[in-house]
């Protein structure tokens, strides 16, 4: 759209209307001070043959304001035809049909009208949608984490002739490979690591050599072992999830069990998994437990008990695993209260059935498995902090319930991949790595990343810190910025539904490409097109 054309407001001095409170002369005075309107023309009775006078303003953008009779008489249609105006070059507003006229003073109406005309004028001036400018970035990528997701992403990117630096975390999980890769995809980690070491585009550094990550204008810089700073266009955050050790002496956590299975030890005897001990175990951990139990059953004749409070089938595929486990003869026991006697590794379990109230006992199990709390390592948390990533309970970069968020984080250029986004199995990790690579390629091509079309943003000056948006946002995409005392949007979590914008009492929240003004103007156009 040609923005050099000036905006002309045409106002009808509608003295003909019976109780017209708005005096055109007063409006003229106030609108002449307005910056968004270049020229103001006042017509005496526009309904009566004024089209000749309008011919002077042909080729400009025009804003009409008049009484409802103008529309009925077809004045606007004729004017649009005569002046050759398209739908985006002409806006119409009605000065007299306010249904609250009876209750408002003429000054309020005048204020309203001036405000409306000004906002419509601004809209005519720049109705071009906001677009992020293209970014040219370094074709180097830093990947933090050498788990399944990190390795997969590194290999895919090296296939694209991008040079990749992979950071190996020192405090690796005990199991060979991360929890997701361990039993779901045996041998894959080793194979991928070998491939990565053989690739000329991938360089692997240990974490202890890594200096602090610094954010520069178009990317990030890191120095390894005090050497020269290396520049990166993007950082992929793909740390491995690690599990806390089991709290009881002599008990194993899942990681230890996994590593034992992977090393080829056969696990025999009576094995008891205890879930839901401290609050509810996450369904993904339940999946890990079932996978491990299945693996043990496949390798030896063990007697497996799984004690839990509630059966969860929330994850895709979990129901099948349950059915399979039942078929294999794994015993599921629901308990209400559980007492764990531990005499240096000699366990005795006293439980109570929730339905009958009957007590049950498991004497001297050979092995007790207590899944620990899973999360990120200290190094991973440090790196997340230096990248400006927000972590929930030091575990995930997203709230637990949100699964549809993009890989792009709130911080431009930082992408999150794999276990840090939530618990995934091997196939989920592979999909995630592929989507990260796609997003990164898009970013490096200079297309920029637009998470959602109608992204919400908060005007800091207007925000009253009432936190209404925090309450109403269905996605938890609003957070408190305690320092500045304003609400803040997590851009990756925002889905652009606009609930916050409509609920905000201070009108501080606007949607990208969908401001209240543009919506109103769009509706204006729509109604106008029917004449």
């Amino acid at each position: 759209m040609n923005s050099t054309r000036s905006i002309v407001a045409v106002l009808c001095d509608h003295q003909c209307s019976p109780n017209g409170p708005v005096q055109a002369s007063q409006l003229q005075k106030r609108l002449s001070e307005s910056t968004s309107i270049d020229k103001l023309i006042v017509l005496q009775k526009a309904c009566q043959d004024q089209e000749k006078k309008l011919k002077n303003i042909a080729g400009q953008k025009v804003l009409f304001a008049g009484c409802p009779y103008l529309e009925e008489s077809g004045f606007y249609t004729r004017a649009a035809e005569n002046l050759g105006l398209g739908p985006g070059e002409m806006l119409v507003t009605d000065v007299k049909s306010s249904i609250f006229d009876l209750y408002e003073s003429s000054e309020t109406i005048e204020d309203n009208l001036v405000g409306r005309l000004e906002s419509l004028g601004r809209l005519l001036a720049d109705s071009v949608a906001v677009k992020e400018p293209p970014v040219k970035l370094k074709r180097n990528v830093l990947i933090f984490g050498s788990g399944l997701s990190g390795l997969k992403a590194a290999l895919e990117l090296s296939g694209e002739k991008l040079s990749v630096d992979l950071v190996e975390t020192e405090d690796q999980p005990v199991a060979p490979g991360c929890l997701a890769g361990g039993l779901n995809a045996p041998g894959q980690i080793e194979e991928l690591t070998e491939q990565a070491r053989g690739s000329e585009h991938v360089a692997i550094f240990p974490y202890r050599q890594m200096g602090p990550i610094q954010t520069v204008e178009k990317g990030f810089t890191v120095s390894f072992d005090g050497a020269q700073q290396r520049e990166y266009g993007a950082v992929i955050y793909a740390p491995e999830r690690i599990e806390a050790p089991a709290e009881e002496v002599g008990a194993w956590n899942l990681t230890r069990l996994y590593s034992r299975i992977m090393e080829g030890h056969s696990i025999k005897g009576r094995i008891v998994f205890i879930l839901d001990r401290e609050g509810e175990t996450a369904p993904e951990v339940v999946r890990d437990v079932l996978t491990a139990a299945k693996a043990i059953k496949e390798r030896s004749h063990a007697e497996i008990w799984i004690l839990l409070k509630q059966v969860r089938v929330a994850l895709p595929g979990l129901q099948e695993l349950y059915d399979l486990a039942r078929e294999m003869g794994i015993i599921f026991v629901k308990y209400q209260a559980l007492h764990l006697k531990n005499d240096f590794g000699d366990f005795q379990i006293d439980g109570q059935d929730p339905q009958t109230g009957a007590a049950f006992q498991i004497n001297k199990p050979d092995r007790v498995i207590l899944p620990g709390r899973s999360g990120l390592s200290q190094a991973a948390v440090q790196v997340a902090n230096s990248l400006g990533l927000r972590l929930y309970n030091d575990t995930y970069t997203q709230p637990y319930s949100l699964w549809r968020l993009a890989n792009e984080s709130n911080h431009p250029g930082v992408l999150v991949c794999g276990s840090a986004r939530g618990n995934m199995d091997a196939s989920g990790v592979a999909e995630d790595a592929a989507s990260v690579v796609l997003a990164l390629k898009q970013r490096l091509r200079g297309e920029g990343i637009i998470p959602v079309e109608h992204l919400a943003s908060v005007d800091k000056d207007k925000c009253a810190y009432c936190l209404t948006c925090l309450r109403v946002c269905p996605y938890g995409a609003m957070v408190k910025n305690v320092e500045d005392r304003v609400a803040q949007v997590i851009t990756t979590a925002c889905q652009g539904c606009g609930v916050c914008a409509s609920e905000c009492p201070a009108e501080a929240i606007t949607l990208r490409n969908l401001s209240q003004e543009s919506v109103l103007a769009g509706m204006h156009k729509l109604l106008f097109s029917s004449i």
């Binding site: 409802p68 529309e71 009925e72 507003t93 009605d94 049909s97 306010s98 249904i99 609250f100 009876l102 209750y103 079309e453 109608h454 109403v472 269905p474 996605y475 889905q495 652009g496 539904c497 606009g498 609930v499 914008a501 409509s502 609920e503 949607l511 969908l514 209240q516 919506v519 109103l520 769009g522 509706m523 204006h524 729509l526 109604l527 106008f528 097109s529 029917s530 004449i531």
Partner: protein, 130 residues
């Protein structure tokens, strides 16, 4: 323009319902205008009032079925706002203008068509009585 009816619909279920309606061959009379928003939850009182003020005979907010909103409870929020505007209109004694909320499933093309037609007929009848 005086008797035009604006349909504000969401970009999810309601949009699909409208598409389904036209696919099934049900055409709406020309006074119906449709306007899309990402979710009906982003409708507010100002939008509804402004449209009535701009001369449309009525505004219909078309949302997904209850408990079926993509954005969790956007349609219920819209319903509350529509109820508030209705109350305002009746308090101010405005006649001949209406605001309504309709919940629709994406496959209810015919039902939606019938409901919308009822609205336009009722509006016409009101206009004639005036």
């Amino acid at each position: 323009m005086a008797d035009s009816i604006l349909i504000i619909h969401c970009a999810e279920g309601a949009k699909k319902a409208l598409a389904r309606m036209s696919e099934e061959g049900h055409k709406l009379p020309p006074q119906f205008k449709t306007f899309e928003l990402p979710c009906t939850g982003s409708v507010n009182e100002v939008l509804l009032m402004e449209n009535l003020q701009n001369g449309s005979a009525g505004v219909v907010v078309l949302g997904c079925q209850k408990e079926n909103c993509k954005h969790m409870d956007g349609n219920l929020r819209a319903e509350r706002k529509v109820a508030r505007v209705k109350k305002l209109l009746s308090e101010a004694g405005v006649e001949g203008k209406f605001v309504e909320m309709i919940f629709t499933a994406p496959d209810e093309g015919k039902r939606l068509h019938n409901t919308l037609l009822e609205f336009s007929q009722a509006a016409e009848a009101k206009g004639k009585r005036k």
